[in-house]
Amino acid sequence: MTASVEIPDLASGPAGPEKKKTAKSRGSGLGRYLLIRFLLIIPTVWILTTLVFFLMRITGDPITASLGGRLTKEQLAQRVSEAGYDRPLLIQYFEYMGNLLRGDFGTTVSDNRPVTQVLAQYGTATLELVLFSLVVAFLVGIPLGMIAAKYRDRTPDAVLRIFGILAYATPVFFIGLLLKLVFGVLWPVLPVSGRASGSTEVLLDGVVAPTRLYLIDALRIGDFAAVSDVLSHAVLPAIALGLITGGTFLRLVRTNLIGTLGAQYIESGRSRGVSEFRLTTRHAFRPALIPIITVMGMQIALMLAGAVLTETTFEWKGLGFQLFQYLQARDFVAVQGIVVMLAVIVAVTNFIVDIIVAFIDPRVRY
């Protein structure tokens, strides 16, 4: 999906025409730019919340979802009314938004837990999964993309491109299934579900002031059996989710690197005898990184979606998985809360990407 966006982006890449800026406007410019980018998070989150609020209300209520097969129409109606779900939608909406503004995400309807607690517990799990996957994606995408760009249109490139397309074309759940088949059944060397084995989980839950990122917690208590347990559980999900993103990264790095490799400053470097290796890894890579990172930021949103599938396949009890459960239970309080959280994550990620881009691209920085 993002691939489609990267195309127009390429045109305005670093090689694009430069705008004249006066020295004075630079300093305050970045600050204001970032401030505005930051403030834009608010409408984004607000729109999504509103959207999801009304959509979820159309889909039904949690009480019917859980008791629709047991109670009479009248009993159901009574319970729904007791819960206040038959009041005018707008009133409920303003009430919810009001609470949200006060930082009150509410309590889930289906299992009566504070949404904040749900977010804290599952958010970290998803974060850990996404981090592991990003490691895979970076390890796969960046070096291979550089190689493909370097050996453009020759055998290594052809092989890598096909690999990239394959990685993109294989749905997470299908890769997951194949991985499970291979490593869980045919050659059962890796655990295929969960974030850790039971005893490790118990152990890690007992850690004081846990980060809830298992790997970090396990490292902190210095228990290497636990560390390896956590890592072994992470391998398959991280590969499944990471490969797909890695495939996208590969294509992204390749295209942009080819783009910058054709820029005049590369030719300029070449004309002064700078080696091809250095041209690829230093001169061309950093400018190529700007569009790459921008798209990578958008990939985060995709990864969160991919996480739903990965988490479901590998029993990784994270936010995506949980969101799916709550969706089925029509637990709108929970769904709304999680969506707000996801929206904030995505918006903040993109904000961070802007900062990183500003860091890499001096034209934005100064």
Binding site: A65, S66, G68, R70, N112, R113, P191, G198, T200, A225
Partner: protein, 520 residues
């Protein structure tokens, strides 16, 4: 568990580990009304009444005695020196508190509706609780006390007017069942440790520690039990998985009777020839129902779709309940339980129904397990193979389904039931006791005064023999009228490592999986 066992789970002598795909909603009995939550409650909360292992009969739990002292008064005397795991005393005031708070909280997800029989609760002394009931000699009341509304909770830990959070319950150690919860990770991992002060009806827990692992994907649970990462897999492996695991040497597949039933509901108004259809004719409508009852091959569905993890159901009350019979068997099909096209044809011909009959059949793909689609594809095929029916099969997502079914949208549709308590009553009254004041939850416009009367009668019939007879009569009456078409009864299935003991003992008609009876 020490840190060094980080890698492997089920070393010999370690904690017994059990997997499930059920889900907990909340631990507080006032806030949940589902199997997954009740499963935990059974292990950790004390009940006044309990099921006797191996039967669907009940006996005293933490009660020393319990009985009707007057037609409207049920008196329970508690055992002495009962204590919660946190050291708090368990007295009659805790009992009163436990029941009253449920009615007060009226949580939309809670089981308060089961307690409508209670008028008031008296506690003459620390050991005695008197329930004043609004129905005389209500035979189901003791069962209610053993069911999801029955756990007795600690009034010092639980709030009187709000759902108490899981963490507070765990931290407050408000437990007095065979186990107490040691660590609690919501819907991921719950570890139990034996509660030494347990003084319910049963024996003390056989395993000191049990680890309960919650899966979302049955397939993962299957792989884990196959690999030995867990010792027991309980609810709900797919039929394919179970069939596959049956062939494994190190595992045993345990089956017991189940309380879950599956059936087709007829909307007597909108079904073909129904009261509000284009061509209303009560006789023809009945003939259609009878023909369908003759055309379905339950055994084939149970075998092909469910690989015998379900069994055919020939009556309204499933096998294992007191009073259950097989009332449909002798009436329809080949009278042996099998399908018979000729019999079906005869019903239709006799009533003058034009064939093929066009029927619209609805099922739900996401509430009754992943095999519903297969089940109904099979039903459709069976019906159509007789050449007597044309089936328009459709499915609808659960929430919409639950709304539509009571709004006369579906002429016939799939439904399932898991009992609130193990008694025939629970398979009859909610469905067929239908009056203006107390409508039945099916809302299929079936109303029969004589059945209503008999249903009322059996509830208050203290004589077991007479009650069973009444229940049998009701089933026979229903079988003739066919307001619903019973199809299947679920089996309880647990797959366990060969050396896990006690599983068969707990897979009984009480449908309670007692961890305390397991050991390895």
């Amino acid at each position: 568990s020490s840190s060094t066992t980080g890698g492997s789970d089920s070393g010999e002598g370690g904690a017994l580990s059990v997997g499930t795909t059920d889900k907990i909603t909340v631990l507080d009995p006032a806030g949940s009304y589902d199997n997954g939550s009740f499963f935990v409650m059974q292990q950790v909360f004390p009940f006044l009444m309990e099921y006797k292992p191996g039967t669907s009969e009940i006996r005293e739990g933490i009660a020393e005695s319990a009985d009707f002292v007057k037609p409207g008064e049920y008196e329970v005397k508690l055992k002495k020196d009962l204590k919660f795991a946190n050291g708090n005393e368990l007295t009659s005031s805790d009992v009163k508190f436990s029941f009253e708070r449920q009615t007060k909280i009226q949580d939309p997800n809670g089981p308060a509706s089961l307690l409508t029989a209670i008028d008031s609760i008296d506690t003459p002394d620390d050991q005695t609780v008197v329930f004043k009931l609004n129905r005389e000699n209500d035979q189901t009341f003791p069962l209610v006390l053993a069911g999801p509304a029955g756990p007795v909770v600690d009034e010092d830990v639980f709030a009187a007017d709000a759902i108490t959070k899981d963490d507070e319950i765990v931290k407050g150690k408000a437990f007095a069942g065979p186990y107490e919860i040691d660590t609690y990770k919501f819907n991921e991992l719950v570890t139990y440790k034996k509660y030494d002060g347990y003084s319910g009806g049963g024996e003390a827990a056989k395993s000191a520690e049990v680890q309960m692992k919650y899966y979302s994907d049955a397939n993962n649970m299957k792989l884990d039990v196959e690999k030995g990462s867990i010792d027991v897999a309980y609810r709900s492996l797919s039929p394919t998985d179970i069939e596959d695991l049956e062939g494994k040497d190190n595992l045993t597949v345990h089956k017991g009777p189940g309380g879950e039933i599956r059936y087709i509901v007829y909307n007597l108004d909108t079904m073909p020839h129904g009261a509000k259809s284009d061509n209303p004719d009560e006789k023809k409508a009945l003939a259609v129902r009878q023909a369908m009852a003759s055309a379905v091959d339950r055994a084939a569905i149970a075998k092909d779709v469910y690989k015998d993890t379900y069994q055919p159901l020939y009556s309204y009350v499933p096998e294992g309940m007191k009073g259950a019979n097989e009332s449909l068997k002798g009436l329809y099909g080949d009278k042996q339980g099998g399908a018979d096209t000729d019999a079906a044809k005869k019903f239709l011909e006799d009533a003058g129904v034009e064939t093929p009959v066009n029927i619209k059949l609805q099922y739900n793909p996401d509430h009754y397990g992943p095999s519903s689609g297969d089940e109904y594809a099979a039903v459709k095929k069976q019906l159509e193979d007789t050449q007597l029916f044309k089936v328009d099969l459709q499915s609808t997502e659960w929430v919409q389904y639950a709304k539509d079914r009571t709004n006369d949208v579906y002429p016939m549709y799939q439904l399932g039931w898991f009992p609130d308590y193990s008694d025939a009553d629970n398979y009859l009254v909610p469905f067929f006791y239908n009056t203006k004041e107390e409508p039945a939850f099916l809302a299929n416009h079936f109303q029969d005064d004589s059945i209503n009367k008999k249903l009322l009668e059996q509830v208050s019939q203290p004589d077991e023999g007479k009650r069973e007879k009444l229940i049998g009569d009701i089933q026979d009456d229903l079988a003739k009228q066919l307001p619903t078409l019973p199809l299947l009864q679920g089996n309880q299935i647990a797959v366990a490592d060969k050396n896990v003991k006690g599983i068969d003992e707990t897979l009984d008609p009480s449908f309670q999986f007692r961890l305390s009876m397991l050991s390895k």
